[in-house]
């Protein structure tokens, strides 16, 4: 770790100011000199590994008073960015009306981490690519733009089969973001000119030619809340992984359905563990919508979800696995008792 200054901020304006102060010419937020600190479970890790080298840490935890509410309502849900993963996962109303959200959080990380980690920090967590996290490897376009990608032809079992580019194949590792993107969540962003709302789907950026730019947030901007309209009791988060707990997804599916008399009226499918960003499988949804559900349809939907997938040496299995996970998640959602 390198030396940094530490500042606790007690109101959003001060936070935004502190974060923008040092942020003049930076194009990538991840390289910004000032970084907000929430639970610290991603940030401190990466600082110890010397991957992130901020010179100023702005502790936003005092904002929790205003930014950690969990507010389920009749026509939607609002979640503060500083709400803890564990609190949201354990919330009775969320479990009932948004099982996909509760499960995506409950199945993530460990109890200790969930007690520390916040929703805002969670969606901003960075890839687990081993080459990214080990600075002794020169070749990592995300960490070291233009240096190449060690994972491309290296050990890439955990890497992405969807949304990759020639520059980077790193997986977006989180779980919760799939639930958000599936449910068409909006994200509230607080910056210099106040708070704006944007579809969560516009937050993350696929690597393309600039894998170091991971989100559309600018230095000085903070996520303050997430919101979702409607209720999604018929929803499922299915996660396949090497261990029974405390492990990232090899493949996961967030599925939310509206089924009437066996016909799928609305369908939302998002994929985790297989893509470079939280991945909405819209083509697959199109195959499903308006149809009578059966196992054959589930199979066609799953095929559509992975139509563009491309495997590499160690991760090709994720394509077949991902399809089975999608199909199974759909079956589970359809047969849910609600």
């Amino acid at each position: 770790m390198r030396p940094f200054s530490y500042q606790r901020v007690t109101d959003p304006t001060a936070a935004v100011q502190a974060l923008s102060a040092a942020a003049a010419a930076n194009d990538a937020l991840t390289k910004a000199a000032a970084q907000p600190l929430a639970g610290g479970t991603t940030l401190i890790d990466l600082m110890k590994l010397d991957v992130m080298r901020p010179t100023a840490i702005v502790d936003i935890n005092p904002l929790a008073q205003g930014w950690s509410a969990i507010e389920p309502g009749n026509d939607g849900l609002r979640l503060g960015a500083l709400a803890k993963m564990s609190d949201v996962a354990a919330h009775e109303q969320i479990q009932r009306h948004y099982p996909v959200i509760a499960d995506s959080l409950k199945l993530a990380a460990s109890a200790q981490l969930r007690n520390m980690a916040t929703l805002g920090g969670n969606v901003m967590q960075r890839t687990r690519c081993s080459y990214f996290r080990d600075v002794s490897y020169e070749n990592c376009n995300k960490r070291n733009p233009g240096s190449g990608c060690a994972a491309m032809d290296g050990v890439n079992r955990m890497h992405a089969v969807l949304g990759a580019s020639d520059q980077c194949i790193a997986t977006y590792p989180g779980d919760f973001a799939q639930a958000l993107i599936a449910l068409d969540a909006m994200v509230a962003i607080t910056g210099r000119s106040g708070t704006r709302n944007m579809p969560f789907a516009e937050l993350h950026k696929a690597p393309g030619n600039t894998p170091e730019i991971e989100t559309t947030l600018r230095p000085g901007e903070l996520i303050s809340a997430f919101s979702i309209s409607g209720r999604w009791p018929r929803s499922v988060y299915l996660k396949a992984r090497d261990r029974q707990s405390y492990e990232f997804a090899l493949s996961s599916a967030a599925v939310a359905l509206d089924v009437q008399n066996g016909t799928v009226r609305d369908a939302r499918i998002a994929l985790g563990g297989v893509a470079t960003v939280p991945w909405r499988a819209r083509e697959a949804e199109a195959v499903l919508k308006g149809q009578k559900f059966d196992d054959g349809l589930a199979q066609r939907v799953a095929d559509a979800a992975f139509a563009d997938a491309r495997g590499r040496r160690h991760n090709s299995f994720k394509i077949a696995l991902g399809k089975r996970v999608v199909a199974r998640a759909l079956q589970q959602a359809v047969t849910m008792e609600i």
């Binding site: 770790m1 290296g154 090497d242 405390y246």
Partner: protein, 762 residues
Amino acid sequence: MTAAAPEPKTNMGQPVPRYDAAAKVTGRATYASDMPLDNPAHAFLVTSAIARGRIDNFDLDDAKRVRGVIDIVTHENAPKLKESKLFSNGGYAGTTIQPLKSADIAHDGQIIAVVIAESYEAAREAANRVKVRYTATTPSATFDSPGTTTAAAKGQNAQFKEDPGVGDFAKAFGAAEVKLTAAYDTPTQHHNPMELFSTSCVWMGDNLVIYEGSQFVYGLKNGVAEQLGIDADKVRVVNPYVGGGFGSRGSMTPRTAIIAGIAKRLNRPIKLVPTRDQGFTITTYRAETRHEIKLGANRDGKLLALRHEGAEVSSRADAYCVGGTKTTARLYACPNVASLVSIVRADRNTPGFMRSPPEVPYLFALESAMDELAVKLNMDPIELRRINDTTVEPIGGKPYTSRSLMACFDEAAKAFGWAQRSPQPKSMSDGDWLIGYGCAATCYPTQMAPSAARVRLQRDGRTRVEIAGHEIGTGAYTVIAQTAAERLGVPLEKVAVFMGDSDLPPAPVAGGSNSTASTCSAVMMVCDQIRQRLFKAVMPDSLTDKAKETVGISQAPATQAAKSDRPLDIEKAFDALGVGVVEEYGEWKPEGAPLDSFRAMHSGQVRLVGGHTMKDQIAYAFGAEFVEVRINRFTHEIRCPRLVGAFAGGRIMNPRTARSQLMGGLIWGMSSALLEATEIDERNARYVNDNLADYLVPVNADVPAVEVILLSEQDDHINPAGVKGLGELANVGTNAAICNAIHHATGQRIRKLPVRLENIEV
């Protein structure tokens, strides 16, 4: 899963809780890096980012500017150290690759610089700012990499004396009615003990004290002295607790003498705490292996021919090898056996002991092959073992001192519910999950080594036992205290045991599961010396001197001795002697130990006796392991909800601590089968997943139920304590048991570890 301590059966001690338990779970136990030091400087390692080549130059300017940096040591200014030979060649070292000696780099993560600073943080920051320019050469990573060399182990490794064989394998295999040929692979694995590979070195004048988690304080003391060129009496190694060893702390690593040398130069205590990832390259590991097994049998399942060929990776510098054919060639009755072990040299750090080093990979191969043969024969796999069970090993014709393999199979099968298994693969399921039952034999050689001990008894019964043994998490303090209490007839609470200090009487390496057998045999002997002195003092004068000589000494195992029919009145004996304290020192060696045993013991060299190296007998502990696996039809996730093992290991000193060892072994075995593997980037021979997030080990949810059954077994032929050693018994058979269960669940035979969901095709 029940947490209650098992009831002792015949020939078992009491299940007393370990007396250091509370200290450990409350964080009061002091590990090496917890030792308070007076004004220490902190060291941080810089390790190489290439696996083969040279350092052209360092740019240290940026690093030196970090506030608090005291010194940066590279090969250009490192203290000069003498070489130490590999432990298997009469030295102490786990590797002969000595870092900081030249600009050459022999493996990934080699130590190339040591930053010394006023604080850990400054040292680490400066280390991050060290810039290195290399000239890299393409390294050879592993099997099949261009540039590796392969040769028979025999002749390269002094401890691998021969490829065991008997009869005419080729002929018998050719003629066999049923034949099996199969190849198996095991991966690279790292120990990852909780305690990092720290070391602290403190000089007091010419005397050096080393605080370091070690499984062999006498080895480390002598090895570091040799490297520094000083008298071994000037070096003391201290570690009252060791935060896990698993073999990783059995031999000396280069870090210790380097830190000692720098501490001397700077005239200041130095504390080094390497990171988790550095632990992957600055110590040893379990190298990847390959096997080919050929089995020939008749229709009734009788083995006629067995051949086991193994290949193991080692470094360019050292011919380390585990050579498990010594066990697999002798496990079953088979008249025609052949074997061959070879070593493949690559640009890697030197591998070393890791829990049950030979048996884990080699028995995975053999016990998988036995299951495959049972399938071919359409026979229950337990019956196949029964048909080929033996009391005499086939190579040298020596009898097993005792062998309860089939009793273990029968007990474990009953507890597991093997009778409910429908033999057909893919025939059992529960909802989304395919169910498989599998089993395998497990075994581990019984080994002993010379050991000394000092025991002091006070008039009020308070007892102090001193022995340079090691508490690596097994419960050694408790078991040694029990031994002394029982032998002297004093209450357990009155016994204090001191270990983990090379100023105490020498004990062997805590490796090869020899500790309990060796240290307890020594402690028993010394307690007997005390008993003898006391007895003699209170014997009526009418007894002849000759009778006095022998009274009070029992060569029989511990059970009878303490409760001898001649209860000793300690106070009366002290009065008769007219002293306040009786203290005895003694040196014990196992039968068949070489002549130089005691000399070697004091100079930190191990003379293990046992297993197949005993003169007229062969000694092994046995067990049988049963597992249930469940495989998700959709995700192919593999889970292991139940592990059941039955084990026989001679006298069980303490069923509670024994069960913990065996339970841990079963869990590790499962982990080894399904999770653990160090990934190597073959392009550059570097370890990739060198951290505990990516190097997978089980979490609680992966281990819902483990049952350990301890069988009563009495073996009077092995050592005075009657103990076989259990530490490395349970993690041996599990790999095969799991793959055998996966075959039962899916019909798919998997011969390469670890088994991951992408390997399942259903």
